[in-house]
């Protein structure tokens, strides 16, 4: 199996505070990785370094072998021009906690925008595909609606369809259900589970331990900017080796 996402020695500080400390992580194609950890442990920051929404201070991030955000010149990494970074990002799906749909565009326009403007694909062709994607997330009848006319769960499903429309190599989910009312969490998790079944490579930052146990191939437990332990859910969630993991799971379960 080839590593789709490959992080080596990723280090990042905000001011004097080190949020990521020498993180190594390798994610195989077609796997689902769930990142757990207490708030402030660096989960979201780690996720955001993968598509260079967060610049790193040291280390390297590769997606399908391509260095993300930088170009290596000898022993140094030079940050790429924004245009090149944007092109790299269009192969990496990202789903936000707050959905961040474009409120002035219809659901269909939200999904169609990036494939047309970032990947220069034909609008007519993308529209057909977008409608199919919306049907797949159960919103085939909402193409003409505006995001604010939808529930939170529906908006997040549109956001997932929007990420899928780019045919990404990997999709990153940043606490996709944290902004949802409890009764809407299930419909979003169901869509993510279906993607996992179809063999997409997913990285999910979440607090839903039950989801992690059910869907994840690998659970990564992060604390204080370091990976405390990682492994299959039966190991990390049911038989955690580390006291900090146990303490965290006791609090959330």
């Amino acid at each position: 199996m080839t590593a789709v996402v490959d992080l080596r020695g990723v280090t990042k500080s905000f001011g004097g505070h080190r949020v990521l400390d020498d993180v190594d992580l390798e994610l195989a194609e077609g796997t689902v990785t769930v990142i757990l950890g207490p708030s402030g442990s660096g989960k979201s920051t780690l996720l955001r370094t993968i598509n260079h929404l967060e610049k790193i201070d040291r280390g390297q991030v590769r997606v399908n072998g391509t260095l993300i955000g930088y170009r290596q010149v000898g022993e140094r990494l030079h940050e790429l021009p924004e245009r090149d970074i944007l092109r790299q990002r269009s192969r990496i799906g990202f789903v936000f906690q707050q959905f961040n749909l474009f409120p002035h565009l219809t659901v269909l326009e939200n999904v169609v925008e990036a494939p047309v403007s970032a990947q220069r694909r034909r609008r007519s062709e993308v529209e057909v595909e977008a409608r199919a994607l919306l049907a797949r997330v159960g919103l085939g009848d909402k193409a003409a609606a505006y995001p604010r006319q939808l529930s939170g769960g529906q908006q997040q499903r549109v956001a997932i369809a929007r990420a899928l429309a780019l045919h990404p190599d990997v999709i990153l989910f940043d606490e996709p259900t944290s902004a949802l009312d409890p009764e809407l969490v299930g419909e979003v998790l169901a869509v993510i589970k279906e993607l996992a079944r179809d063999g997409a490579t997913l990285v999910v930052v979440t607090h839903e331990v039950g989801f992690a146990r059910e869907v994840a191939d690998t659970v990564v437990f992060l604390d204080g900017g370091r990976i405390v332990e990682q492994g299959p859910p039966e190991q990390v969630i049911d038989h955690p080796a580390h006291a900090r993991t146990r303490a965290f799971l006791d609090r959330v379960l």
Partner: protein
Amino acid sequence: MPSLSTVRRSAPTAPPSPRATEPVPPTGADHPATPPAPHTVTPSVDRPVLAVVPRRNPWTWVGVAGVGLLVAMFVNGLATNPGWDWPTFGRYFATETVIRALGTTIQLTVLGTVAGFALGLVLAAMRLSSNAFLRTVAWAYIWAFRSIPLIVQLLFWFNIAYLYQTISVGVPFGPSFASVETNDLLGALGAAVLGLALHQAAYAAEIIRGGILSVDEGQREAASALGIPRRRQLTRIVLPQAMRSILPNAANEVISLFKGTSIVSVLAIPELFYQVQVIYGRNSRVVPLLLVATVWYIILTTLLSVGQYYVERHFARGSARSLPPTPLQRLRARWAGFATQASQATRRPEQAVR
């Protein structure tokens, strides 16, 4: 559920409740002695549905009478005071000279607005740039042009054209400035447009910058995460959303620029206000001619306001679950309402019970 218990209290016979056999706890003043109400309320003939009477506010009517009196006095004055000299107003209101001057005023407004907001957009982008030099230059421009009174700036441009001519730099309006009368007119107009546009740009820049800042950071981030090219992020994602907060301020600016063109009369440009002054200088009918200008300013400002309403509505797409009806739609709905009411007039009492 206080309302439920209130209803219960007025009911002399409560339906048997399963808890009625339980010992009733000691009741305070605010607890009815009747057993706790079950969750379903069975309609009862003994509990009539009470009609609601809105609160009356007699002082409002005193206020209405007072203000109404003042309005009546003002309208009466407009109609009867011979000083307004309505016949003269009527004679000059739509004369060719006035209409042509109005055209010049509109031309100045349009050119000032278009050039001003185009430069303002560039300045706003500079102020939001990550480059400190560009930020500083834009800041200094805005600082300078907001500090100089428009009238001073206009006179300055009027004279700098003359200055440029002496140092033999080809300026579009420079050479014509000092020559014959018709060209003179063109040169002054150029100076006026330039002055208005540069002045406007400083304000437009701040309005556009404020609008861009009002758009949630998550929008830029999402566009960026999707790989949407930078310029497209601005034109497709950020600016259309920024328009919602830009538009009311921009409309204010356009309207104040429109009226501000009257300042250009210091450059002897035959715009509306200057032309009216010329006419009353000849026939000394000051008040009716000022009224001519006033009414035209009001008419065009009204048109701009109506335009503003519809443009704002356009950019409000998706901001609410459904857009409120336009005044025209509301009027039509009300007419339709009157019609239905009229046809249902006979069934009225029945409706009131429901």
